[in-house]
Symmetry: C2
């Protein structure tokens, strides 16, 4: 379940746009998530695609290229979303809630890619590695800035903003455990429970 049902319906119906390359990347996401980047071999990937290992190289340049595609695909979506939310004229606490809901949605509907981007990025090679680390740092600073604005406006508990960012982002990545567990509550229930606990924890209590 790499891709969101709604997002990709058109593509699946017409079928012709799911190129071989996209299939390879999707299968790579699954494999890298299951085994980790280093432990997943190109022969594993070839088998799951249904070709010989050598044939993969007609569609991709290298194993790390697959990791670039996955990591930056995810990073770009998050960066785009935060830019969009920053410009809305709503209270900071609502901005945070919107961004959190986006994180939760991405984690639920694009699980494999988001997970890989989160846990395997350290295996990127160096022009890409430092690029990715920079994007991450910038993203967290922007999120912290929203929280700080919220604190100044009295909408958010006065706490250390970088610590709050760290908690929020990692808490959301915990959906990974939910995703693989048996007794799953529904996606909506999960989302609302998380928002209750996390955003609730940020609001002033009187």
């Amino acid at each position: 379940m790499l891709v969101c049902y709604l997002c990709c319906m058109a593509r699946i119906k017409t079928d012709s746009h799911t190129s071989r390359r996209e299939v390879i990347i999707a299968k790579a996401a699954l494999l890298f998530r299951e085994k980790g980047f280093k432990a997943a071999s190109m022969r594993d990937l070839a088998e799951s695609v249904g070709v010989e290992a050598a044939s993969l190289y007609n569609h991709i340049k290298s194993k790390t290229e697959l990791l670039h595609e996955l990591c930056f695909g995810v990073a770009n979506r998050f960066m785009q979303k935060i830019e969009e939310v920053e410009q809305e004229k709503i209270p900071a606490a609502e901005k945070i809630e919107k961004i959190l809901r986006f994180h939760i949605h991405e984690m639920i509907h694009h699980y494999e890619e988001v997970y890989v981007s989160d846990r395997e990025w350290k295996h990127l090679l160096d022009p890409y590695l430092s690029n990715f680390q920079n994007q991450r740092r910038i993203y967290r600073k922007r999120l912290a800035a929203i929280i700080e604005a919220g604190i100044r406006a009295g909408e958010i508990e006065p706490i250390d903003a970088p610590t709050a960012v760290l908690i929020l982002l990692h808490a959301v990545s915990g959906i990974e455990s939910w995703h693989r567990s048996r007794h799953k509550i529904s996606a909506e229930e999960l989302e609302n429970n998380m928002i209750t606990i996390l955003v609730g924890g940020l609001r002033p209590r009187k």
Copy 2:
């Protein structure tokens, strides 16, 4: 900084108890955290210990044995702590706070091992792998049971307990990012900020 200063002072002073095996395990924790289990080679480890790769096998059986040692060392400490806290006669919310503070403390002072146990356990081999997964599942159930008791007692917001557990545990593991960041606030500040955000989010707001 594998081990806690306080915990290990005696050992460092007398010096003779830090056996070669313990040094190897400590260096392995560092390497597995930096590179990941699969990407860290026994030759890397040998170099960081200061011997040839073959010599390591006079002190350990295999690479995976190092992973066992690290994962179960950590798991056992957490299991022991939760058993201890369960038996105290204090409100559920205080139990949760105590356990959270223990998690935070472990993450700060035994960073490498806790991190490896958290992220690399999937590379354990199968008698150990399922054993570890069982311990994890049991631990989370016990934590959820404390939260549920707290909800029934009206000390904790009525939310889905497994979701709360998932959020709490992953939020705490976010200390990893703090640990490697430059502008670190102090460990005590960090701990108190986390408790404010997390336990604050659990308490009823009126």
